[in-house]
């Protein structure tokens, strides 16, 4: 049984349909990435997993249980963390408050201090800046905070939306390393959305490619990377 399973998903904004009959599955303990040009519906899929957007048809299953009708907080409580696009830290709260908010769900609250120690171990810079307002951090630090905040709920599945956008190469490398460690050391399943195809597929086990709201390619990362169709999607069809 896959950890996360999307089945024949249709998502609409009003009368405008943006996702068409999309099915995909993410296996436990893997890293998967969602690729596609701008506006192909990647973020919409992420948002519908955590209930920020409600699908019109289809089903979403997490650990075999349907979650597409649950309120967001119950989805989060079942073990999904969602790191939104553009970081979205709470700018007028301290770094520590941001992190503590991450452990708002009961599953996180129970092991709050352990988690905090773990996050500080992963991102030592956050430990140094605990008392600082999150809005005053640099872009890279904010992204670390956003990920760290997600980890505070001890998720089984981590959804990350465009984590590398606008970051310096050094920081990107650091984050890549963190994702790999999380996957390796904790067996955490990660689904990420990314624009940079090579980098994303390079760190993933499996890749999904969207075009105009439809899933057009899926498979093991290396195969996707080498497929002809990938070029067609990103460079236009002949």
């Amino acid at each position: 049984m896959p950890l996360l399973e999307l089945e024949a998903l249709d998502v609409c904004y009003g009368d405008l349909q943006v996702i068409w009959a999309l099915s995909l599955a993410v296996e436990r303990g893997t890293i998967a990435c969602l690729l596609g040009p701008n506006g192909s519906g990647k973020s919409t899929i992420m948002n519908s997993i955590t209930g920020l957007v409600r699908p019109r048809a289809g089903a979403i299953r997490f650990q075999g249980e349907r979650i597409d009708r649950l309120p967001t907080y119950e989805i989060i409580e079942r073990g999904i963390a969602h790191v939104l696009e553009r970081r979205r830290v709470f700018p007028f709260m301290s770094v520590l408050d941001n992190l503590l908010l991450g452990s708002f769900p009961p599953r996180g609250k129970a092991k709050r201090s352990d988690q905090l120690a773990r996050v500080f171990a992963l991102f030592p810079v956050l430990a140094q800046r605990q008392a600082q307002l999150a809005g005053t951090l640099s872009g890279g630090e904010q992204q670390m905070l956003a990920i760290g905040r997600g980890l505070m709920a001890r998720p089984t599945l981590l959804l990350v939306d465009e984590p590398f956008l606008g970051l310096a190469p050094v920081v990107i490398r650091e984050l890549l390393d963190i994702f790999a460690r999380l996957n390796r050391e904790e067996g955490m399943t990660i689904l990420l959305v990314e624009q940079n195809v090579e980098m994303a597929l390079g760190m993933s086990h499996r890749g999904f490619v969207l075009e105009s709201g439809r899933l057009v390619i899926q498979g093991p990362a290396r195969e996707v990377l080498e497929s002809v169709e990938l070029r067609q999607v990103f460079l236009g069809r002949p």
Partner: protein, 290 residues
Amino acid sequence: MSLALLAQATANGLSLAGLYALVSVGLTLVFGVMRILNFAHGEFVMLGAYASFWLFTLWGLDPLASLAVVLVLMTGLGALIQTTLVKRVLAAPHLNQILLTFGIAVTFQNLALLLWTGDLRAIKVWYSASSLTLGPVSLSLGRTFGIGLAMILTGLLYLLLFRTEYGRALRAVAQDPEAALVMGIPIQRVYILAMAIGAAYAGAAGVVASVSMFTYPLIGFLFGLKAFCVVILGGLGSVFGATVASLILGLVESFVGTFFAQGSSWAEAISFVILLLVLLLRPKGLFGVE
């Protein structure tokens, strides 16, 4: 001007500020969390005042004691209004929200008028029209009770916001509701909490009004408009800003009214001018951020 007069004017201003703060802190909280401008907020004051009046008249409950009951009642009312009505316009444009809450206000006003007539009501207890004399300054007990209550309740709100899990959640929702959602914060419950606190605080202001002044069905408008000025001046959503703005307006109105001929009739216009000037320089109010 004599020093005694200055002291008295300051005392008067402070007690007015206490009343303003009680009314506006809840309003600004509701706006901060839900981005809803609640035009029915003044009616919570009115209902709180009537609740206190009836508890006193029917059961002889002293306002100091009935305050607790009123807080509970108003919390319930706030929660009820949130879950049945306001919840459904959260995603609607501001205009629709204004109209919904305005409709609620009209309904409450006229319900009160039909149920309790248009008569003026006030509570008479030993502290309702008496004062403490400190040298040349007279401090009204009823209104001092208002200042005290404003300080206690604002303090409690600060404790809630900065020392509790749900307070942190409130602040998070105010800053970024979507990000708060994916933190696993049950946002609808946070909304209910905010509205309940807003209603309860307004109800507390109503208790003070029922003791130190009076109530009647349309009294909400009196407080509502001023509370809007206070929260806009302070910066929407900023509890601290609302407190500071209450102080400013309370003191300014008192000084203008005391030291200038025809000051009492101009005082309010001067409040509005201050508001416009501040907005001219800081469009988001004194402590507003967005």
